[in-house]
Amino acid sequence: MGDQTRGKLNVHSYAAELQARLERGEPGNLVVHDPGPLVRHKLADEIFNLCRANSLWPMTFGLACCAIEMMSLGMARFDISRFGSEVFRPSPRQSDLMIVAGTVNKKMASAVMTLYDQMPSPKWVIAMGNCAISGGPFAVEENYNVIEGVDKLIPVDVYVPGCPPRPEGLLEGILKLQEKITGVRHPFPQRKISDAPSY
């Protein structure tokens, strides 16, 4: 019943950890158990990274107006599925890419940290928009509530600037992430424009 009382008081169990990370000013990652893979093989790693890069499953996780651009990226006009990451998962258990699309305030911060913890490894984070990168328009002296950069909480792989960034910007962020994972810009060869069918 002790847990229940704590839940009703709305005190998140990561409140202290959040404070510690903010004071330290750098991201944390509370790893309790990391024996590494049973077998590590270079070729297998390359194959798996190729597969991972071409099927990044983002988490359905919109915090503010940047999420509108993220949704539009998922729709037909910009069509994120051309690059294999259209499968927005509503659970961190099934996703390996967290797109922090918007303003992270202090009340949300511990939830962001928990969701990052709950994603299975390997996992990547894209900080989308100025708020997620540095606090954006909230990075002023009077700010009392907004985390000035999600990279103070969790490790960020790709930053996509803009307020909000256009869908193409986020698409470029995903391409950059693919490049980071595999080492080449287009992990699978793309069709040339001249070869594309004309409609």
């Binding site: 839940g7 509370l30 790893v31 093989h41 913890d117 490894s121």
Partner: protein, 130 residues
Amino acid sequence: MPAPHVLDFVYIIVILAGGIIAGFAPFVISDIFRPRTINKKTLLTYECGMDPFGSAWDIRFGAAYYLYALIFLAFDVDILYLFPVAAAYDRVSGWQGVLELFIFVGILTLAVAYVWVKGVFTWAIKREEN
């Protein structure tokens, strides 16, 4: 050379083994190569980032919903008994069939009328009772 029916069994066993391997190989392969990082909250119940609290066995469920189960049963039985009616519909004359159908459904509908009169469809009345 074994008898043909023995060979048939061998085929079945080989295909069965192939199916089992195809089913479990992805689990085994991913178990061998996956990173096994466990963060502090990785194994917690998924609660949209919030702390789970209470016990999973501690479910409070409105007992008033038994009424909906009963209403569902009334409709369900309606439909269920219409299947034999449909199957035997061509054995009687048209008017007789329609008439008996309406009598039968009318009697069963009384159950719905009963709960209607009792005020189950109105949440406000239930609140006053509570």
